[in-house]
Symmetry: C2
Subunit: 694 residues, 2 copies
């Protein structure tokens, strides 16, 4: 049956083209029944028995498309690694399947707001922690500070409404700033954002672990391992490519809103009903504990409390980045969702701060302020309290997901603009920007370990970057409106202008008040990153310029003649060197073999005689190396040859390839180092004739 | 002057041959005035102006000898590294300068005995530490145990006298055991010795640091850094190649003998003169401290004390290894020196143990027993005491030098027999076996860190290996005498036989009594090492077998025709790829370029049109990769080509070489991985056409 000429049903099918004989160019032969890639004793090939196993589909005379069969590794280790990867991250996804799901407002709120909303879980605590330095008597000031932050939030959200309207395809800081303000502000914005995304992961995860620790104190010593495990878990999910999957994130976000909102409703009700001794909505209860002042109550202290609390605004820009993910009309839906988010965040944050102040809560080590509010509001460690802690921990960990979405995306945009290595722009098996995900999680893990997953140590580094990015983005928008001059442009420009000035002031306050306690690190890091981004860009540009193809073969410095000079290093006359010599003699009529004598007193008569017998027309040079080194005399020898500058010098290297990794240590150390040295030599071509060992 | 033809004094000198014109083979042009290797703006060449700068001297028609000028690196980094190396380790030494200094008996005693003699600084303490477990009441038993060890020492030394006589060229355990007992006992002996050399370094250095700490207790916390520093210092000295330099080692060894001997003389005198209250040569003083028994006084405890003390015998074999270093008559001088060594060791060890017991010394943490004896004998912490501590510390550190001599030497012998990687057999710049030195110091440093440079933790691992090696060596000698049957062979065989049995019993006792406290590690490690040595050997043998050159070109699987198949992967049409294509087209008439489309929707018309215009006769294949990978479809494509098995497939890779290391991250990640994959593919030749970026 298989031997009969295939007529009838097979002819005319799309696979038919694969049977067309092809002589030039070198084209794969994919007839069914052919022996092809895979593992088989003694060979690397298996028989292709079904059309579905063909690694290629013909698309045209010189055009082919690879199939999943071409992705199949052929070696044992490769197969094992592939199985591990498929199990952890799933089957590869073809590029053509990269349609993105559009989000309803309900799902979008959950996806984009987890970062912003989750900050209500720690912003209040950070304000109180700053104020408590002046003793427990001044904790009341937390309330006006929270209101000031909410005012700032309003300004920022109104300002971002303009961005969403102007950039329906996504108005990230880097795009807006570089488009309107130029390259350097764009790079500063990008560097600020990248820094802050890393901190988002570290801070959110640390705060999430603290929420767990507040409910289950015995987990305290395992804080860092739990935090690192959470980062790895987030990285694995994101490497699987479950990006912006609304349904996964919708549930925890709404569960958190219910729990946190419930706490505020119950707490405020109890205050109104006079169920808290000595406290009402207008009067605070006596402090739960008394802390002596270690610092005078100054303007600086208030500003520092404001700075710490302004972390509540981080994550607000997420919706502006993600406008294209909304169902049409994208801009309108995004703006509405942003308003919802701001309102919810405002209520949660101000409610929590109000309760904290009125209930007389004093921040202390080992239990979060929210946990204390929860216990007092719900009247003890009951089911409601544990629900609150669980959903808070969950949303804090999920908040890191915003960074896992945005860091690799910003990274890929920078890589496409050649400010970051190209790896950042490659989409992996599962269409995720794998490299960015791995980089983000590695740096976060490092931060978590160095700062012992302690939110209070990380917070001073946080928010500076976000406010720099806010400021650059809003100033960019002002420029945008001045440039575009649409109807109502003056109004939009004014709103963005106010936003820019407010965020600039906030950024200055934050940088100044947190400078000594950690912000200086970020303020040094961001300009450094800008310099790195810029030098990467300069390198790529310079490389591109050097690689521009001029006309005429002379500039290539490659004159190819039959007697081009070829050198073969020969240690002994064996199968591998004989293959190299045979290949070299096939390349040129001008082959010289070089034997470096590294051992004093080595008798070379044997190799010289054997050589003379086998290759009488190829000279063998004996090079004595009295200092026993191989590479230095070899390089010096070829440097001293008189080869015209446009003639490439070809070095044919005989190389063993060991079957197992450890065997690699037993061979080729010399060959590998020589190869590296030859690569750095101009107009030198290295030909590796390999010999695989069983 | 320089332009004139060189006549007169220059003609006829040995350098004259360098001026001879040479057309084939490719020979260096070394005329004075030629521009040659080195650094010069824009080129890699400098002008050779003096004959002494010539990198090569002609030795014959096809034979050259490299000079120190050929060792000179040409790149900036290379020059810097070379300067650092020269400063630390000195100028390279030519192989022809490797004459070894012969040692007088006085120098030889110092060189070879530092290891053995230094063990008297800790052997007594180890015995007492074992006995004190049964309380301070049984410390007296230390004396008979020391005498038993000295009896064993006598047997071993008499036994080694026979070895020295039979192997005037050096009777190391590996040589004697493998020659007489076969391969496996030889490997066991070698593995035991290598293990013990590493422990010698760790134990001696730890004990040396303890001697320093006993005198200056404030250095306690810096114990591990000091120990690691000492190892690095020893490694540096040995990398300099100051091997067996008698004069360096003679002085500290004799200073130690004077100090330690003086302590014994003074101490014994004071005992005899009744200057120690309640003690004489026959009666012990009451213990300095009372320690409650935590363990019953059993036979096991006594045997364990014996095992701990038997470390005194380590290093005894050093003279047998080094017979050829003695002045003639080598064997006789070596035997005499060995006797001296045994007598001195016996006196120092038994004297120290006698004093320790009679002075009622109790071992405790933080001060060595010798330090306690010294203080009591010399009557306080006076100059004599500090002299004792200083010379003890010095000899203990220098004792490690025996291991630094022997480990690399045994390693090089094993490497020559193909049981260890070849690197062990290479002599470095300074003729030292650099690789062995680096391996020894790395493992020792690791041990010192893991065991916190604590002698007592390391001692249980020690001595087992030495006694296994002793046993194998002595049994080998018995076989040797049975084989050779010289005059008096029965007597020699009997002596070696007694030695073998005694050391075998000692090895068993040591292994059994120290098993739980650490010897099990060594008893697992040694067989594991033997397996590793053996599999390295099997690999080298198998590689050699595979590389045997059969006759006929068919087995080479290399049919070289003008239309050999060549594939060039082309990402874009630039200078680097154009060079690669030009080289490929010079190689063959059958070149195919392959462009892998990794980005969905990439428009390939531009590259296809530019290609068609530039290389109309070389086909460009477009290979779509829907899963965005480059390597898998590329490999699958070449796997699916129908190439006859004896025709090599040539892949020409265009490669960028970045000027700085960090730029390497920005290029070539794909090319490097592809190259690795191609190396593993049978009958595939990889041609790297490099393009250096400025």
């Amino acid at each position: 049956m298989a031997d009969q000429p295939s007529t009838g049903p097979v002819a005319g099918t799309p696979e038919d083209a694969n049977h067309a004989p092809e002589t030039s160019p070198l084209a794969p032969d994919l007839s069914i029944g052919e022996v092809r890639r895979g593992q088989k004793p003694g060979t690397r090939y298996v028989r292709v028995t079904r059309a579905s196993e063909r690694p290629f589909l013909r698309q045209g005379a010189t055009r082919w498309r690879a199939t999943l069969a071409a992705e199949r590794p052929t070696s044992g280790v490769g197969k094992f690694m592939a199985t591990v990867r498929r199990t952890l991250f799933g089957e590869p996804i073809a590029s053509s399947n990269s349609l993105e799901e559009r989000l309803t407002k309900v799902k979008a709120l959950a996806v984009f707001s987890s970062d912003a909303l989750s900050s209500s879980a720690y912003a209040t605590e950070e304000i109180l922690l700053a104020l408590v330095l002046a003793g427990t008597g001044h904790l009341n000031v937390g309330l006006p500070i929270a209101l000031a932050i909410i005012a700032l939030l309003t300004v920022v959200v109104l300002s971002y409404h303009q961005t969403v309207r102007a950039y329906p395809k996504g108005g990230g800081t880097y795009s807006v700033a570089s488009e309107n303000l130029g390259r350097w502000p764009g790079l500063f914005g990008a560097a600020s954002l990248l820094t802050d995304y890393v901190l988002t992961v570290a801070v959110s995860i640390s705060a999430g672990v603290l929420a767990i620790e507040s409910a289950i104190p015995s987990l305290g010593p395992a804080r860092v391992p739990i935090a690192v495990g959470a980062v790895i878990f987030m990285a694995a999910i994101n490497l699987r490519g479950v990006r912006e999957a609304g349904s996964i994130f919708a549930i925890p976000t709404y569960l958190f809103i219910i729990g946190f909102g419930g706490m505020i409703v119950v707490g405020v009700s109890r205050l109104m009903l006079g169920m808290v001794p000595g406290a009402s909505l207008a009067h605070s209860a006596p402090p739960q504990a008394t802390v002596e002042a270690t610092h005078a109550f100054t303007v600086f202290l208030v500003l520092r409390a404001f700075s710490s609390g302004s972390t509540a605004l981080t994550g607000v820009e997420a919706i502006a980045n993600g406008v294209p993910a909304f169902k049409p009309p994208e801009s309108r839906n995004a703006a509405i969702t942003m308003t919802w988010m701001a309102v919810i965040l405002g209520v949660l944050f101000s409610g929590a701060t109000l309760l904290a102040v009125r209930l007389g809560i004093v921040p202390h080590e080992g239990e979060s302020v929210i946990s204390q509010i929860g216990r007092l509001s719900f009247g003890g460690e009951n089911a409601a309290y544990y629900y609150l802690q669980a959903t808070t921990a969950l949303i804090l960990v999920l908040a890191a997901n915003t960074a896992f979405n945005d860091f690799p995306r910003v990274g890929s945009i920078l890589a496409k603009d050649e400010y970051l290595p190209r790896q950042f722009a490659f989409r992996g098996d599962r269409l995720a920007f794998s490299f960015g995900i791995v980089v983000l999680s590695s740096i976060s893990v490092l931060l978590l370990i160095v700062f012992r997953a302690d939110t209070h140590l990380l917070i001073p580094l946080y928010a500076v970057g976000v406010f720099i990015a806010f400021t650059l983005s809003q100033f960019g928008m002002v420029k945008h409106w001045q440039r575009v001059r649409e109807s109502n442009w003056r109004r939009s420009a004014t709103i963005n202008g106010i936003g820019a000035v407010m965020t600039a002031i906030a950024a200055t306050v934050i940088a100044a008040t947190k400078f000594m306690s950690g912000a200086w690190i970020v303020l040094i890091l961001i300009p450094l990153m800008v310099l790195v981004l810029n030098s990467i860009h300069r390198h790529y540009q310079s490389a591109r310029k050097q690689l521009v193809l001029a006309d005429g073969p002379m500039r290539l410095r490659l004159t190819m003649t039959a007697d081009r000079p070829v050198i073969v290093p020969v240690s002994e006359l064996n199968f591998a060197t004989a293959r190299a010599v045979a290949y070299a003699r096939g390349l040129s009529t001008n082959v010289t073999a070089l034997h470096v004598v590294t051992e004093e007193g080595e008798d070379t008569t044997e190799i010289e005689e054997a050589w003379q017998e086998r290759y009488p027309d190829t000279p063998l040079i004996i090079l004595e190396s009295p200092y026993r080194s191989f590479q230095a005399p070899f390089m010096a020898y070829i440097d001293a040859l008189t080869v015209p500058p446009d003639v490439p010098l070809t070095i044919v290297l005989p190389e063993f390839v060991a079957a197992r990794w450890w065997q690699g240590f037993l061979h080729n150390r010399t060959a590998n180092r020589l190869r590296d040295a030859l690569y750095r030599r101009p107009n030198t071509v290295v030909v590796s004739v390999t010999q695989q060992l069983a």
